[in-house]
Amino acid sequence: MRKLDLSVHVAGIPLRNPVMTASGTFGYGEEFAAYVDLEKIGAIVTKGLSLKAKAGNPMPRIVETPGGMLNAIGLQNVGIETFIREKVPFLRKIATPVIVNFFGNTVEEYAALAERLDAIPEVAGIEVNISCPNVKHGGIVFGTDPKSAYSVVKAVRETTIKPLIVKLSPNVTDIVEMACACAEADADALSLINTITGMAIDLKTRRPALANVTGGLSGPAIKPVALRMVWQVSRAVKLPIIGIGGITTATDVLEFLLAGATAVQVGTANFMSPAASQQIVEDLEKYLRDNGIKDVKELIGALRV
């Protein structure tokens, strides 16, 4: 009997299975090492990095909402040099691809980060978070303007040969337009969706629940939106898609694959259970076995419409 094949390729990165962990929900990997076998998951996507360490937003930063949570962490991170010095040595020991997420406030910052990461052999791929304001151009968010998205992805592309994934924001009128701009700028893959902007109010205090007033909604509540966007983008562009948004079970993974995703990222579910990603891989394998599916790739884009 042929062995069950869970492997996929995304942007040229071979993954043992399609289940990755989403940036910002899995730290730098080591935080979860006591609870998850890191070598059972497809890839680790690390917490978003900037050139310099970033303080992030005031507290409170998180609040639970029905079926989800809002966060306004404010991209707090240790900065790229500390990451390379203190976090990479741990990741080097793990036989799982590491994809590094990063963001900047100008095109030049994005390019500088990509150039720095290009020199790090432990980095299997990079994921560009374009949901940040361009401070040189009136603060317009890169990921909500196709021209800005194109220019930032192009600049990153020119500095690195590493597999380049662009993480798309759902806070746009037409996500297909954004996806096309990134494809044109030679991205290797697209990951979607980032969190959906939302807010929560505490009636007792008449204050916003988050100090930042608004935050990003994640968790099962956003899954239908994410599925719809993955479906739309997969029909419009040729690039492989990494589906993200409220994935908590193997069933969710299978739905994203049917909608056209080649791989997925598990995010908020890591907070519900630190072993979630590994559990999902095991359940996915069981589903394939139980349903006589030899190769997980058979399911990619296999939605019957």
Binding site: G27, F32, P60, R61, I62, N71, G219, S273
Partner: protein
């Protein structure tokens, strides 16, 4: 560690406050006072996140059936404040929850010859009782308990059963002296000298006042903070607090879940808490 845990008992100990006993692997006996557990009160996505609770006690018993193996457990003392704790309060014997823990740092009490002064309010008494149980065998100990009303003053009997001097203050005077626990604490601090350490857990305004008092008296003080958390393992950065010397250019955040919940009071930027 992460484990499935069975409810052994779940009782209301004071109006709105419950004590739940949950089974655990033997390793729970290694939990340090001040550490906490993240509890998933039921399967599914509502509530979505775990809830953090300070460990109140650990122990073991032998169930009453033939050849029963020794069963280990830990206790949580909690107040019903929202959906998660409300669901928890409705659980019965043989219901199951999912537990992550013990997590975080524990208290570092005083050494030989030092008096340990415990100060707490509300369910903040949970880790202090766990601490007192360990300390009472070896070191001199006092406990100061504050609350709004009599109903908010927990564990007095437990502490007295350990033979510990217990001082109580309530805002409305329905139990102990009328006023703030820090007032009673200050009377004690200025009356008696000697080497001592203050270990506190409770509402933030109380901790702030305790920290200030200890600074004035030059006493080492540790506080256990409470915060909303998502992951509990230092990854989401949702529960941070500002450390001493924090500024926008030199961020100095501490994760309450991982670097805490117990901190030396001088480590924190109290003005901005």
């Amino acid at each position: 560690m992460q484990f499935k845990s069975m409810v052994v008992s779940n009782q209301e100990v004071s109006p709105g406050y419950y004590r739940i006993r949950l089974t655990a692997p033997r390793a729970i006996l290694e939990a340090k006072p001040g550490q906490f557990a993240m509890v998933r009160v039921r399967d599914g996505v509502d509530p979505l996140l775990r809830r953090p609770f300070g460990i109140f006690d650990v122990g073991s018993f032998t169930p009453e059936y033939p050849d029963a193996p020794r069963q280990y457990y830990f206790d949580i003392l909690y107040k019903v404040v929202g959906k998660g704790t409300s669901i928890l309060s409705a659980l019965h014997f043989k219901d199951y929850v999912d537990v992550l823990g013990p997590l975080g740092t524990g208290f570092t009490p005083g050494g030989t010859g030092e008096e340990n002064i415990l100060v707490g309010g509300g369910f903040g008494l949970a880790p202090l009782y766990f601490l007192a149980k360990e300390l009472v065998k070896t070191t001199p100990l006092k406990v100061f308990i504050g609350g709004r009303r009599k109903e908010d003053v927990l564990c007095v009997t437990e502490f007295e059963q350990l033979g510990i001097d217990t001082y109580v203050a309530t805002d409305d005077g329905t139990l102990g002296s009328r006023g703030l626990v820090t007032e009673v604490l200050e009377q004690h601090l200025c009356r008696e000298g000697g080497k001592r350490v203050v270990l506190a857990c409770g509402p933030e305004p109380m901790l702030k006042a305790v920290a200030r008092l200890c600074e004035n008296y030059g006493i080492r003080c540790q506080v256990s903070l409470e915060a909303a958390m998502a992951c509990g393992v230092g990854a989401c950065l949702g529960c941070v607090t500002k450390g001493h010397g924090h500024s926008e250019n030199t961020p100095s955040y501490r994760c309450v879940c991982k670097e805490g919940p117990v901190f030396d009071s001088t480590e924190l930027l109290w003005e901005e808490l």
